[in-house]
């Protein structure tokens, strides 16, 4: 079994109004050095196989077709061996 951690980031060319709004909060907190806040997603799950190549393929498809939308997002993931 593998444990997977996926990070989904908004593409640099896509505006992130949510990140901007959150950063306003930082300004209000007096954290004036905080810049370029951008909000993405963190997703974790397990893959129930011992075949690493097969796991990688399945995770990649999950990321590409469902977890991210390539028009506005990029994804990266890490795969670690895992036992319950």
């Amino acid at each position: 079994m593998f444990k997977v951690e996926v990070i989904i980031k908004r593409r640099p060319s896509i505006l992130d109004p949510q990140g901007k709004a959150v950063e306003k909060g930082a300004q209000h907190l007096g954290l004036t050095n905080i810049k370029n806040t951008r909000i993405g997603k963190y997703i974790e799950f397990t893959v129930d196989t011992d075949d690493k190549a097969a796991a990688q393929k399945e995770v990649d498809e999950y990321c590409k077709k469902l977890l991210s939308n390539p028009i506005m997002e990029d994804y990266e993931f890490t795969l670690k061996e895992y036992s319950e």
Binding site: I14, L15, P17, L66, L67, N69, I71, M72
Partner: protein, 232 residues
């Protein structure tokens, strides 16, 4: 013969009954609900993907609904030239399904917007707008948090060049400018059609402006256009 509309019901759809009511009780067409777990389109002439928050808008709007069993049938139906209209969340589902290009971002203001707006009809040659000859603009409501239409420059150029932009946010007189853009959509885009002309997605809600009792009926012209396209 009456045209038959099929309104898809996803978990979290909340404009399905509005669409059913307007199409059946106000406009007098045949309507059936289509359950998301089914694959049977019940011989409908038109498929309506209604507004709402399918699957709680989790992940991205429309991202999970797009993989519902019914959507496989809707995609084949659309690819074979069947008429499909996606309203609000329905539009978002069409984008995720790849039946229309682009994506919806959070409204520029970050606020949920719920109010009447005016749409300039940019293309009157479509099966969805051809009855709108006497309308310079139509007044119908928007109700969305993620209606900020985005696509890359090349896609926008292609949409413009092929006359695929059907509606833009405008003034009552039809002036299109930033002042009348409620959500930050590229080029004030409120509704687009596919190249073949049989799939329309729009953020505003025509089904909420059909019944005269609500004092606005401009939305009916869209459903009448579709119905007459089927009958002729």
């Amino acid at each position: 013969m009456k045209p038959k509309f099929g309104v898809v019901v996803f978990p979290g759809s909340n404009c399905d009954h509005d669409a059913y009511y307007s199409l059946k009780k106000v406009l007098g067409y045949e309507v059936d609900f289509l359950w998301h777990k089914s694959t049977d389109l019940k011989h409908c002439d038109v498929i309506v993907l209604p507004g709402g928050f399918s699957y709680g808008d989790y992940l991205r709007t429309g991202a999970i609904a797009r993989f519902s069993p019914i959507m496989n049938s809707v995609i084949s139906f659309a690819e074979n030239g069947g008429y499909v209209i996606g309203i609000c969340n329905g539009f978002q589902i069409l984008l995720e399904a790849g039946l229309l290009p682009g994506i919806m971002l959070r409204n520029k203001s970050l606020q949920f917007i719920c109010r009447d707006i005016y749409l300039s009809i940019e293309n009157r040659e479509t099966i969805f707008t051809k009855e709108a000859v006497n309308h310079k603009t139509i007044k119908i409501p928007v109700a969305h948090g993620d209606g900020n239409y985005f696509a890359d420059e090349e896609t926008i150029r292609s949409l413009e060049a092929n006359n695929q932009i059907v509606f833009r946010y405008s003034s009552a007189e039809g002036e299109v400018s930033d002042e009348f853009n409620p959500n930050g959509s590229v080029n004030n885009i409120a509704g687009i059609i596919n190249k073949k002309g049989n799939v329309l997605g729009m953020m505003p809600h025509p089904e909420r402006s059909c019944d005269p009792v609500l004092s606005k009926t401009d939305g009916a012209v869209i459903f009448r256009s579709i119905a007459n396209s089927i009958l002729n």
